[in-house]
């Protein structure tokens, strides 16, 4: 990247899991830098360690070797500057939408009045004001994910880590939420690391698409998407989009030596 220091820096991260008597290498010497305000998507076949990478950045797992840095400091646990959005929404089912959104504010000791106001603001932002006092079980999948997004935004993180957030949603809801996410992002420019298995989604959202390969998990390819492009329906249907999509598709589905042992053991660094 340029002279700007990386917001997120992954340096030679390896993660192995014990799998019976064997060890499974989820990530093999992965390095990458993400600049502030960048929107990076990570796409790859299952088992490429993309969720592991996110969990390490979230501070939920520790790397076996190497280190992950956020704002220049090694990640040693979860932190309020990193908001995480999970695929399974992970809403607390016994709390209402409002209580869910306020959860992070309560744990960080925000006074009640401010908590209320901030929760209100973010519930409105995701369009759930009519459902503020509803329990998650009464919400549709898209609404649940919007609630989860509001909950992550409420603690005002400078980084959003999103693990296939729209993976369980139908195509229509997914497109709507993608556009809403970009709209919010274009205003606040939080740094986003967005994990997906959907090539279209990866291309549409990203400034940069990182393609990972599996067994062992590693960075396989990096595809830049011109940040100047307007992300709208025209882009989605444009030949440029199709070309990018082709490239990413190829990278994901026709990886050299996919079934063979580590082909490119070294990682592609940006």
């Amino acid at each position: 990247m340029t002279s700007k220091p990386a917001k997120i820096s992954v340096q030679g991260v390896t993660k192995t899991f014990a799998l019976g008597r064997d060890t499974f290498t989820a990530l093999d010497d992965v390095s990458l830098d993400i600049a502030e305000h960048e929107f990076v998507t990570v796409v790859g076949p299952s088992g490429c360690g993309k969720s592991t990478l996110m969990n390490i950045l979230a501070g939920l797992e520790t790397p076996t070797a190497g280190r992950a840095l956020v704002d220049g400091a090694t990640v040693s646990g979860p932190g309020p500057e990193r908001g995480v959005i999970f695929q399974q929404y992970a809403l607390f089912p016994w709390l209402t939408v409002r209580q869910n959104v306020e959860f992070g504010l309560r744990t960080t000791g925000v006074p009640k009045a401010e908590r209320r106001a901030r929760a209100e603001h973010f519930i409105e932002l995701v369009g759930l004001e009519r459902f503020a006092d509803a329990l998650p079980k009464t919400l549709s999948g898209g609404m649940r994910q919007r609630c989860a997004i509001a909950r992550a935004y409420a603690v005002d993180p400078s980084i959003l880590l999103m693990d296939e957030p729209f993976g369980a949603l139908d195509a229509l809801t997914r497109v709507t939420l993608q556009e809403q996410l970009l709209e919010t992002w274009s205003q606040d420019r939080r740094t986003v690391l967005f994990i997906t298995h959907d090539v279209d989604e990866a291309v549409f959202l990203a400034n940069r698409v990182i393609v990972m390969a599996a067994r062992p998990g590693r960075v396989y390819d990096v595809i830049e998407v011109d940040p100047a492009i307007e992300r709208d329906e025209a882009f989605r249907l444009s030949p440029e989009f199709a070309a990018l999509r082709n490239r990413v598709w190829h990278s994901v589905y026709h990886q050299e030596g996919r079934t063979a042992a580590p082909a490119a053991a070294g990682s592609a660094t940006t």
Binding site: V84, A90, F92, P93, F103
Partner: protein, 289 residues
């Protein structure tokens, strides 16, 4: 999770019996709400009617068997005996004595089981230390403890309450433990990334998430407590429903035995309904099938 997980499956829906239709993921919530109300009214009446019919048929069958010469008292005989026993205060005293034993034993058992279950579910060390004992005592029926309890604790209330306590405790501790073990990892992670530390995660995630399991454990524990009561009252009791029935057995007094049985059944059912009500109040957030 070893032997403990033979506790019932279906962790999300331990209550059973609920008729609330599942809120599916896709439909608009408003439509769901009306869908939930519509069949609710129709469906509630039918099982009640079926229950009444079933009870009536059962009584009729009993009556028929009694008239056919089986050694059974007829329903009127039992009702009139119940009347006598209520009038002279015997039934009241017996119910009070039995209820006191069950409630004390059950309350103590539950009160001990919940923290122990939490400790076992949350801390590997606690699990390792306590699991063998719990497994061991689970295989020994509480009734088999009675001879020991009598020798060690004498013949007053203590051994009776102790075996009831043990029965309730064992049923509830395993369910609680299972509840803590089953707490969705994602929810714990979600709490962690929102800045929650262990104490907060425990109080605001683990406790509410395991509440349905605890309540199921309490219901099972209550059943065990009643089941143990009669045998516990074998131990030189002076009153109590179990004692009254054993006493009646000596005199071949079948109506009294029936009054005792029916009283125990009704009391157990009432207490179970109260717990079920609490369960609905406390765990209404669950998605039920």
């Amino acid at each position: 999770m070893s032997v403990l997980d033979k506790r019932r499956a279906g962790p999300r829906h331990p209550a059973g019996g609920e008729t609330t239709p599942a809120a599916d993921d896709t439909g608009p919530p408003d439509a769901k709400k009306t869908a939930a109300e519509r069949p609710g009214t129709g469906r509630r009446g039918l099982p009640l009617a079926l229950n009444a019919v079933s009870v009536a048929l059962g009584i009729a069958l009993w009556w028929a068997l009694a008239s056919a010469g089986f050694k059974l008292p007829t329903p009127p005989e039992v009702v009139s005996r119940a009347g006598t026993l209520i009038e002279d205060g015997t039934l009241g005293e017996d119910v009070l004595a039995s209820l006191t034993r069950v409630l004390i034993g059950f309350a103590l058992g539950t009160a001990a089981a919940v923290p122990v279950g939490f400790l076992m579910g949350w801390y590997g060390i606690a699990r390792g230390l306590m699991e063998p004992w719990i497994q061991f005592f689970r295989t020994v029926p509480p009734l088999a403890i009675i001879p020991l309890a009598v020798v060690v604790m004498g013949i007053d209330e203590t051994p009776k309450i102790f075996v009831i306590f043990l029965a309730a405790f064992l049923a509830c501790v395993i369910s609680t433990f299972q509840g803590v073990v089953n707490v969705d990892r994602t929810l714990i992670n979600a709490a962690r990334v929102l800045g929650a530390k262990d104490a907060v995660i425990f109080a605001r995630v683990v406790v509410p998430a395991s509440t349905p399991f605890i309540l199921v454990g309490m219901r099972v524990g209550l059943g065990s407590a009643w089941a143990t009561l009669v045998a516990a009252e074998l131990i030189a009791a002076q009153e109590g429903l179990g004692y009254r029935m054993q006493n009646a057995q000596l005199y071949y007094d079948l109506p009294t035995i029936f009054v005792g049985l029916i009283s125990i059944g009704i009391l157990g059912l009432l207490m179970d309904r109260i717990l079920l009500l609490a369960e609905r109040k406390l765990t209404g957030w669950q998605e039920r099938r």
